[in-house]
């Protein structure tokens, strides 16, 4: 069912796109975001064809210990992700990454369906994004190391490769409103193939990003990710406690480099993990310093 909704949405975009094609005007695409990352989320930005991007992302420990561990910088690091993205054909970004949390390996695809233009003939940029993450921990990290296909099943089966998969799919729309303000909103669907007895497999979410330019190269950035507690799709008598995550950051971007430093309460850099398993609030016990560094190469 959900798959068909996704497909329907996507094909809907295909049709509207072919209409947009017919008007031949002199308009130029607008750069809504300089980087494909904003804090630890993806933007509608897809870099030029035949460009390779490399991302280093790090989150330090939480800041609640104050000076004793230099606000988490000397503390036990929370998460690290190394990512590679490549654009083989115009507007399509394929990515792969590895993350310390749950030893995730993630494969991703992002397609920018259309891009905002300066004459407003296309008022917004629109992209779809999908991430498949594979939990790489050993079997003994999952309690008994066995799963059952439904709660009422009684015969446990050994954990298989696909049990370890989780998905995050997102539709995002962005617009550069003024020279200094760019905003993106999105909706997402997260699915885990294997969860604990008191957790849900599915989760819908709402997302918002904003970038306020303060000089030609630097901007203040914000993000907000809200898991939606929808009783109708909950498999549990009591809804698990999904916590929203947010961040405030500073970005310095040039054509080939973007450096972002931020404060966030999201635990990881893998979007499905942040949606499903955030236990921290945006307060002094929950926030941590993090950074994202990206470098692009043209071929």
């Amino acid at each position: 069912m959900k798959k068909s909704i996704l497909l329907l949405l996507l094909t809907g975009f295909v049709c509207s796109y072919s209409f947009a094609q017919e008007e031949e005007t002199e308009s130029y695409p607008v750069t809504v975001f300089e980087s494909n990352y904003l804090v630890d989320d993806q933007t509608t930005m897809v870099f030029d064809k035949k460009t390779l991007g490399y991302a280093i992302q790090h989150k330090f420990g939480t800041m609640n210990n104050g000076i004793s561990d230099l606000w988490g910088i000397y503390g036990a690091g929370r998460d690290i992700r190394l990512g590679l993205e490549y654009v083989p054909v115009k507007n399509l970004q394929l990515g792969i990454g590895i993350t310390k949390t749950k030893m995730y390996t993630d494969l991703s695809a992002k397609y920018r369906i259309f891009q905002q233009t300066d004459d407003n003939s296309v008022p917004v940029s629109l992209a779809v994004y999908g991430v498949l993450a594979i939990d790489g921990r050993s079997d003994d990290s999952f309690e008994s190391g066995t799963v059952i296909p439904g709660k009422s099943d009684t015969i446990p089966q050994a954990i298989s490769f696909t049990n370890r998969w989780s998905y995050f799919s997102q539709v995002m729309v962005s617009r550069k409103f003024t020279e200094w303000l760019s905003v993106q909103v999105g909706g997402s669907y997260t699915h885990y193939n294997m969860v604990k007895m008191d957790e849900n497999h599915d989760l819908w979410g709402a997302h918002a990003l904003a970038k306020v330019k303060i000089s030609p190269q630097s901007s203040i950035t914000f993000n907000y990710n809200q898991p939606l507690k929808i009783e109708a799709i909950s498999e549990q008598p009591t809804m698990p406690d999904y916590k929203p995550s947010m961040a405030i950051g500073w970005q310095i971007a040039t054509y080939t480099h973007a450096f972002q430093i931020y404060i966030s309460n999201a635990p990881s850099m893998v979007p499905q993990e942040n949606m499903m398993y955030n236990t921290r609030s945006f307060d002094k016990d929950g926030i941590a310093i993090g950074f994202t560094i990206t470098r692009l190469w043209n071929f």
Binding site: K3, Y17, N91, K100, A109, V147, T162, H191, M194, Y277
Partner: protein, 129 residues
């Protein structure tokens, strides 16, 4: 041409999502504890094996990364206020840090039975028995 590429992208993304499963992880049975039961959890026979069997914790915690959880050193290493809180045993670092429901220590966690055993051992005074 553009449409073909777009369709390709749709297919790629759809393929990525074509394998939804709805499995549940089977938890390890935690034997219910009878309140009248005063049998002591033995450190050497029940706690040490959690740390040491199959190098579960000692593959990393064998000296370089604190706490040292090797059989000879484990007790001396964790028997202090940093790791064990005798007043409120549920707040002991040795219990909470690798607990299955916390988000600290992603590398390795206790399963629920191991966590229950550690907690009970601390509740009984964290003895070197």
């Amino acid at each position: 041409m553009k449409i073909i590429k777009l369709l390709m992208a749709v297919v790629v993304i759809a393929l990525l999502f074509s394998n939804c499963e709805y499995n549940f992880i089977v938890p390890v049975e935690v034997p219910p504890i009878d309140p009248g039961d005063t049998t002591k959890v033995s450190f050497s026979e029940e706690i040490i094996p959690i740390f040491n069997d199959g190098n579960y914790c000692t593959s990393c915690h064998a000296g370089n990364i604190p706490p040292d959880l090797t059989p000879d050193n484990a007790y001396a290493e964790i028997n202090n206020a940093k790791y064990i809180n005798k007043e409120t045993p549920e707040e002991s670092l040795i219990y909470t840090y690798p607990h299955p429901d916390t988000d600290t220590h992603q590398r390795k966690k206790y399963n629920s039975a191991q966590a229950a055993k550690i907690l009970r051992w601390i509740e009984q005074g964290a003895m070197n028995n």
